[in-house]
């Protein structure tokens, strides 16, 4: 076994209720533009102040899938394999306006092993919050552990 594999989560050692360490992500306007380009998401609500104002928003909002992608990246890091995240669904209960002030917003992620499924699969329950309010809820992320 490699040294790295010793630090990876092991199915047999995990119990429901296990909490992954919390993680914070800073998201700035430039991150929205960069993600939009990479994902081919050119919706102006993610970069144009005028469009956002027309929607009654304080400013452009983060792509939901940027938030989800950051969250999934955390689980990839935990599981040690991007192919381990085999099934995931989430909803976006709140929009995330991101001011163009060079600081942006801080999102905080919490994830818990909710259930052990057929080995070596686990169901993870994940949520991302902005100022305490949930902006992404993913109650069912299936991760295949090694």
């Amino acid at each position: 076994m490699s040294v790295q594999s010793l630090t990876l989560p092991r199915y047999e050692l995990l119990e429901p209720g296990f909490q992954l360490p919390r993680r914070a992500f800073q998201v700035q306007r430039k991150d929205l533009v960069r993600y939009g380009g990479a994902a081919r998401d050119y919706n102006p609500i993610h970069w144009d102040d005028r469009t956002a104002t027309e929607f009654g928003l304080p400013g452009p909002i983060a792509q939901g899938m940027l938030t989800m992608g950051l969250a999934l990246g955390y689980l990839v890091e935990w599981a040690g394999d991007p192919g381990a995240v085999v099934d995931f669904g989430g909803r976006f209960p709140r929009l995330v306006p991101v001011p163009n002030d060079g600081v942006g917003v801080e999102l905080s992620l919490e994830a818990t092993v909710a259930e052990k499924l057929e080995p070596p699969r686990v169901r993870v329950n994940l949520a991302v919050r902005l100022d305490g309010a949930k902006v992404l809820v993913m109650p069912r992320v299936i991760v295949v552990l090694r």
């Binding site: 960069r34 990479a38 998401d41 919706n43 792509q63 989800m68 991007p82 192919g83 669904g89 976006f92």
Partner: protein, 150 residues
């Protein structure tokens, strides 16, 4: 304006094939600040059992969003304010990861519609297949399309 409920179940023509490159995977992963070696280094990906670098789990958005946007624009559906929509839910269920060299195609089906007071909710099921039609993953996307002037 009422949505045309008879569109529910409508299958849209497959998208143009999209060839997944190592560079696009790298660009996408970097936009998510995800530095896993399996996105960047073919050797690291092979060590995990993959034929080439693989894509982050949310990568199918690169092709599904555009395909679904075309479906939102379907005049037969009659969704209000078609350029004013936000994403409410997203799911992907995988058969296997996407890897560099895959040529992927999306086939979108309108799964459900719902009328709200200020707009419409549309749900799509997007089947992503590789060269030869092998099933890679299925996406389920829900958007809220807001009325003009709302």
């Amino acid at each position: 304006m009422a949505l045309n409920l008879s569109c529910v179940g409508k299958l849209y023509p497959p998208s143009e094939p999209y060839e997944v490159s190592r560079e696009k995977i790298k660009e996408f992963a970097q936009a998510l600040r995800d530095g896993h070696a399996a996105y960047l280094d073919p050797e690291a990906a092979r060590a995990l059992g993959y034929p080439d670098v693989i894509a982050p789990p949310s990568f199918p958005m690169v092709v599904t969003l555009d395909a679904e946007y075309r479906a939102v624009l379907d005049p037969e559906l009659g969704a209000d304010g078609q350029d004013r929509f936000v994403h409410r839910e997203q799911r992907f269920a995988y058969e296997r990861p996407i890897h560099a060299g895959d040529v992927i195609t999306v086939t979108v089906r309108l799964a459900a519609v719902e009328r709200l007071t200020r707009g419409d909710v549309v749900s799509y099921e997007s089947r992503v297949t590789g060269r030869g039609g092998d099933h890679i993953c299925t996406g389920r996307s829900i958007f809220v399309v807001f009325e003009e002037g709302s």
